[in-house]
Symmetry: C2
Subunit: 400 residues, 2 copies
């Protein structure tokens, strides 16, 4: 077994991974599994802190559901967890991951509403990147029949966050305009789709140039992330926009507030600008913190503006708003049934490929959601060792 | 005529006022009035800067309506105008006042929708406290038949502000809770009435003790303004409240944010704490500015909170949102017709009594709105000279 937190070469790790996989197979085949495979973060830091290893099989407590995981969602926040830049993370070693889809394997005592064999998607407070996970019944939702496991793992966090920001925090209505950063990402694509369910909404998307061809049809106006987007938006809409959704933070907060029309709402829902390299950069952290504008409420009064922060995970796991989230999920599943929304999956990765997947999200290479497919076999070692590793290799066709 | 900005004794002023009144009568009786009476602020400062004097009769420009004023609303903001603590006030001498009701006397060119004789209420960008005022047609609304002029002057600003804060900015819905400062004031009473149109809304009101008997039935819980309201609210609702409406500013901003539940909204809509004495106090101004918490958006993100500023006058006169305000007014007039809301008038005052009216609002003596009744004769001089002048003398019965 890998010594937790130890610094090893890629090669050593892969050897261990292979051993783990063999052991896991043996365990599974015995039919009485006491262990399962999981992605473990040995300590905060770079990609080398991640490995796939065996963990004790979890069992559901009172009010919990035990899920045989099929697919897990990978979010930018997972990079921040890995680097240790999130607020109050658990002490490593830990299993990352906040969302998954799978099949109910058993339920704890006093757990109603689910039966063994149900296809479900779920939020988990860490521990999602594993073959099996247990989570309170309040965070579990039944999947529509026609939804695949990959779609389900791409659905929960992105669509719930997008919906709540647009309709709970900002009150999106007919004729309004929305600016969204990282328009090609999972939340960005969910925002674009949800905006299209409201008549006459203008969406200004910001994304890297190489994504423009793929996502052009999903938004009204598309800008390169390196241009002066304030000027570009004001050319089209001199008055600014009604809603700004910002996952970058830093200097974009002041820019977003500047772009707001009267009664407009700026929502900060991430701080990806704090991540620049593979490991935590105190410089990026400090720069982002320093650049973010502290807001004087008297200025908001004079300008009739609204500033909000939104963290779905805190809402679920710290603030106890799971019944509100459940009602939002019900509305979203209606929209899915009516074929008005559909999660965009960027690519599928084996648990053993989590580092490459993380690198892809770090490089903003994705269009839509990156998924860890628990049943997928890792790509042969050879391709990973190649210096010009092609991040588009795993891409599946863009779904619109 | 009084020399503008000159410092005079009460006695001198009243003599001048009488002369003005006589002149005005003569002018009116001639049937071809070139002048009208108005409250003029000679310079920023104390009550002695206010006097009633003659001004040239205004005539409506393109797109304007000329209104023979019957009643004007008096707001706390008018005190701040008088002291010169508002942002970018016009240069005095000026006629204060932002709202009135009356009868359409004529309309400018290209002015449609109103006819001579229409009973109307209107917003005005200053100049409301006069016998006649002209204002763009976008700021004029027809009064319901059964509404009195006093009610109409008490309706526009308070109810539109309360409605927009609760439903446009904060999205009030069934089962939520609202904390409102100055619950006995014009906006406070409008907030309480509008909250009662939504099922199961809890209203925490804060008001001076002597108002409690009069307004107890309008809110769910009532606290004295001198108690530690954070503790009092948390005793009843440990989770806090969904909406905080703050017209005080200063230290109440941090307190309001503390009291918010996740996804809750704090709205600053005034800064009455900046006013402590009769004239502008740089100490109060600086203290309030210093105490108001500058908000870090990253903290809002972690706590899932929303902070907003709301200024109806800026929205109307700077931000060009008059068509939105018109649609809000339509909804409010529906609620009035259904007898779900009714403006609360505290007291009626002659133009010549504007100083006493202002003193009453400064002392937070009012329950509901103070109205300048343009056709009312001033109370005899004697009573004003009495040292123990009774501010309740003018009060009309509390309307609920």
């Amino acid at each position: 077994m890998a010594k937790e937190g130890a610094d090893m070469t890629e090669e050593t790790e892969y050897m261990i991974d292979k051993n783990v996989s063999k052991e896991a197979e043996n365990v599974e085949s015995s039919g009485d599994a006491k262990e399962m495979r999981a992605v473990v973060l040995a300590g905060f830091g770079g990609l080398n802190k991640l490995r796939v290893t065996k963990k004790a099989m979890p069992e559901p407590q009172d009010g919990e559901v035990k899920i045989r995981v099929k697919a897990c969602g990978l979010n930018f926040l997972d990079l921040m967890v890995r680097q240790g830049t999130v607020d109050n993370p658990p002490k490593p070693p830990l299993v990352p991951g906040f969302e998954c889809s799978g099949i109910v394997e058993s339920v704890g005592e006093n757990t109603t509403g689910f039966e063994i064999g149900d296809r479900v998607m779920a939020f988990v407070n860490y521990n999602a990147w594993a073959e099996v996970v247990c989570t309170p019944v309040d965070f579990v939702y039944k999947m529509p029949e026609e939804m695949t496991f990959a779609e389900a793992a791409a659905f929960s966090l992105n669509f719930v966050a997008a919906y709540m920001m647009l309709f709970e925090v900002a009150n999106l209505r007919e004729g309004m305009s929305v600016l969204v950063h990282s328009a090609g990402g999972g939340v960005g694509q969910a925002v674009a789709q949800l905006c299209s369910t409201v008549p006459n909404v203008t969406v200004f998307g910001i994304a890297s140039c190489f994504k423009h061809a793929a996502i052009r049809d999903s938004v009204t106006h598309l800008f390169d992330r390196n241009v002066d987007y304030i000027q570009e938006v004001k050319k089209i809409s001199p008055e600014g926009v009604d809603i700004v959704l910002d996952c970058l933070c830093g200097e974009n907060t002041a820019k977003g507030l500047t772009l707001l029309r009267p009664l407009g709402t700026y929502i900060l829902y991430g701080a990806s600008n704090m991540v620049t390299g593979e490991t935590k950069s105190f410089f990026s952290f400090a720069k982002s913190w320093w650049q973010v504008e502290k807001v004087n409420p008297i200025k908001l009064y004079e300008e009739n503006k609204v500033i909000a922060g939104f963290s779905l995970l805190n809402l679920l796991f710290k603030h106890g708003k799971c019944s509100l989230v459940k009602s939002v999920m019900d509305k979203l599943l209606c929209l899915y049934d009516q074929k008005k929304i559909k999660p965009v999956v960027d690519s599928l990765w084996a648990l053993e490929e989590v580092k490459e997947a993380m690198q892809r999200i770090h490089d903003r290479g994705n269009i839509g959601k990156l998924i860890l497919d628990v049943e997928k076999s890792p790509t042969p070692l050879l391709t990973i060792c190649m210096p010009s590793y092609d991040i588009n290799k795993h891409k599946i066709p863009f779904m619109n």
